[in-house]
Symmetry: C2
Subunit: 145 residues, 2 copies
């Protein structure tokens, strides 16, 4: 008896997520191109835009990067004067990250590029579908943790 063909890769949730993620990220990266900033740096800047001071661990969690990767990305951003480090006085193991004025200005320009992408997607893909997709993704993430 012949071996039954297995489900094609394109029908796996993991693959669909990877594909969608890649495509949307590509489009966003293309918009960010003129600012010369990768998507991860936008996420960092955005989290820091509350002006509050976030530890590296907290940031790593929030921007989906592991610690050493974040450390090195932050090094680059410090060189570019977008963010700066302050040792936490209450717990001196920690480093608190802040956005500089230059970083804040960049954040606003990136935010508006990102919003325009979201608007573009909602327009082409449909408001309802977009909202449904977001809701389902939130649910999946919640269950997965």
């Amino acid at each position: 008896m012949a071996k039954s063909p297995s489900k094609p890769i394109t029908e796996h949730l993991a693959y669909l997520l990877a594909q969608a993620n890649r495509e949307i990220n590509r489009q966003l990266d293309a918009r960010f191109r003129k600012e010369g900033v990768p998507v991860e740096q936008w996420r960092i800047l955005k989290v820091l835009s509350d002006g509050k001071g976030h530890s590296m661990g907290e940031l790593a969690e929030a921007v989906l990067l592991n610690h050493p990767t974040l450390t090195k990305m932050v090094d680059r951003m410090v060189s570019d004067a977008l963010v700066y480090r302050v040792q936490d006085a209450d717990d001196r193991r920690k480093v608190l990250m802040f956005s500089s004025d230059r970083g804040k200005a960049l954040t606003q320009r990136l935010n508006s590029l990102a919003l325009s992408q979201e608007a573009f997607i909602a327009e082409n893909y449909g408001d309802k579908a977009t909202a449904d997709l977001k809701r389902l993704l939130e649910g999946l993430i919640e269950k997965a943790n």
Copy 2:
């Protein structure tokens, strides 16, 4: 007037996709751990499991890897005797990739690990939600291309 706070990062579609993708991929990777194979190699093996011979370009597209990255990953897989290269007789610029017997056996073990993950997700997250999510992702990908 104070600047209005911008939408939090967690409400952006791009972020939700990245987060969900990361989490699902992590879980899949954990299951693949005992076989010592990254998710990308499973994708490659799965595409090759039709026994037909796929060019590098075709493969790169199918498994969401760019050409140089795929070349080097295939190099490793050839070393592990999972796949092999054959020059295309009809167009000698092309290289056709095939799965070895060893590769095919591994593919089956990985397929069953992947299926068990999908079953786990469907169970915890709900059959309907999973199906809806897949459908919406397919739609998004289609629009995006």
